[in-house]
């Protein structure tokens, strides 16, 4: 069972979280400008790497925040977790949509 460090609440058991798949999948600004193939790529195609994976998790039983995790898909080791800013949580960023990053850390 993974131990995931919520950027706000600290390390918590995996069972408190729900998984949100690959991070950095941006919703196209104008979907209608895309070909069917390009739209399919956004919808369904994933990098699914063996190794480091940037992914989204939600602290579902905790603070309900979505955040980013960098995890190795073979060793399952978590390299880091981070607050989100831009679209689809692509870019790790401390600002977290205007919230104080890490204000959630324990005292």
């Amino acid at each position: 069972m993974l131990l995931i460090e919520c950027p706000w609440c600290g390390p918590r058991a995996e069972t408190e979280f729900s998984y949100g798949g690959e991070a950095g999948i941006f919703r196209p600004a104008d979907p209608h400008a895309l070909s069917d193939a390009e739209w399919a790529d956004y919808l369904f195609y994933r990098s699914n790497p063996r190794g480091t994976h940037r992914e989204l998790w939600n602290h579902a039983q905790g603070c309900r925040r979505w955040f980013g995790v960098e995890r190795d898909t073979v060793s399952y080791r978590i390299k880091r977790t981070y607050c989100l800013s831009g679209a689809s949580g692509g870019q790790p960023d401390g600002s977290a949509g205007g919230l104080e990053a890490g204000s959630g850390k324990r005292r």
């Binding site: 369904f44 994933r46 699914n48 790497p49």
Partner: protein, 416 residues
């Protein structure tokens, strides 16, 4: 290949079993092949066998990075059935089931295919509607299927809990009597032996590390045992599909997840059939040696670790005890995981790719063991003819752009 027969067995026994020869040669890679199959699981081996048997393509190599059958083929809960919802899917699985029915004879290798029936339980009114719908569709497609009520279920499976007071009471089930289980390892070995006899090279400890693509054509593979050229490359690596795709510069609509299963200690026969439940997520059968073989759910996260998280096992245990309260004192012997390749519509991809001469068979997720002979059969056709068979045509990559998905989530929520 030494043919297995009753007399041969006796003769060999008298000869102290010293005259047996390898079931498959340990072949070294040649420089080039007419077709290369990546992945020595059931699907890859079956593909090679049918290529050789039905399409006359015998200069074929199966490249396996570890030992054959060591992937999901060797770690699944062995459930075989064809009662899927959509016509496209059920016809493909039914083709496979038909092949299963003659497989031991075809291969001259007893894969211990046991048609002990498969029950899919329903616990809510919506479950019952879905069961009714699927059973009716199956029947119209010529697939055996019936709806059974709690009393009949109880009669067939005396240790099951059909009490109406259960948290998720059993309200009914679909039953496919021709469904059942097969001996997983034997499937890999049987196909390997039969393919080898037709001249296929089965090359273990040979990991594909690159795919050579020039001008949109596949030309060969790089392996840990040297480069191998071939203009026809079929990839059947299940959970590793994404890794192989990347080697050819492709992405797939597939994600790899851990899926776990466990066995109990061997106990005297108590469960004569296969029981699956989507709502109470678990599925269970008893092996010929006596272990209860139980499948759990997938872990939500991507993973290549062949192991998962323990809470998933706890949930499967709770589910088993809900269905079979007396199994609480049975003990778990061993638990393991496999890497399953999940598609958005819970249906496989058996398809050409944008790279000419490169074909993928993947996305079987939690339910491709039952498809082993059928998938091999249609994949062989696809490789040999450079176009899909009508059975796998709906399972192309194009469906993700066109939107013609075949959503088996309902029927395949526990898709084993």
């Amino acid at each position: 290949m030494k043919h297995y027969s009753a007399l041969g067995l006796l003769r060999n026994a008298l000869g102290r079993n010293r005259r047996w020869t390898p079931a498959w040669r340990s072949a070294g890679p040649k420089k080039s092949y007419d077709a290369v199959i990546v992945g020595g699981g059931g699907h890859g081996l079956a593909t090679a066998y049918y290529l050789a048997r039905d399409h006359g393509l015998r200069n074929v190599a199966v490249l396996e990075k570890g030992w054959i059958g060591g992937g999901n083929t060797g770690r699944n809960t062995c459930i075989v059935r064809s009662n899927y919802l959509w016509t496209e899917a059920s016809l493909l699985y039914e083709k496979s089931l038909k092949l299963w029915e003659g497989l031991s004879r075809d291969l001259n290798f007893n894969v211990m295919f046991s048609q002990r029936g498969v029950y899919n339980l329903g616990h809510s009114l919506q479950d019952l509607r879905d069961i009714e719908r699927r059973v009716n569709a199956n029947r119209l497609n010529g697939i055996d299927a019936e709806v059974v009520g709690p009393a009949k279920i109880k009669k067939a499976i005396p240790c099951i809990n059909t009490s109406p007071g259960a948290r998720y009471p059993i309200l009914g089930a679909s039953l496919q009597r021709r469904g059942g289980v097969a001996r997983h390892d034997a499937v890999a070995w049987g196909f390997a032996r039969a393919a080898d006899a037709l001249g296929v090279d089965i090359i273990e400890q040979c990991e594909v590390t690159g795919i050579e693509v020039r001008a949109g054509r596949a030309l060969g593979v790089a392996t840990t045992r040297g480069a191998i050229s071939s203009e026809r490359i079929g990839v059947a690596v299940a959970g590793n599909a994404g890794v192989l795709a990347k080697m050819a510069g492709l992405r797939l609509p597939v994600e790899s997840h851990p899926l776990q299963a466990f066995v109990s200690e061997p106990v005297r026969p108590v469960l004569n059939t296969v029981v699956m439940s989507g709502a109470v997520h678990g599925y269970i059968s008893q092996s010929d040696k006596g272990e209860l073989v139980v499948g759990a759910g997938i872990d939500a996260y991507n993973g290549y670790g062949q192991r998962g998280s323990f809470p998933v096992i706890e949930q499967a245990m709770q589910a088993v005890i809900e269905l079979f309260p007396a199994f609480s004192r049975v003990r778990m012997l061993r638990l393991w995981g496999g890497i399953v390749d999940i598609c958005p519509d819970a249906c496989p991809i058996v398809s050409k790719t944008p790279v000419e001469g490169l074909y993928f068979n993947c996305g079987w997720g939690t339910g491709g063991f039952k498809a082993t002979p059928g998938a091999g059969w249609v994949f062989a056709h696809t490789l040999a003819c450079d176009r899909p068979h009508e059975l796998n045509a709906p399972f192309s990559l194009e469906r993700f752009s066109s939107g013609a998905l075949i959503d088996e989530h309902g029927a395949a929520a526990v898709a084993h």
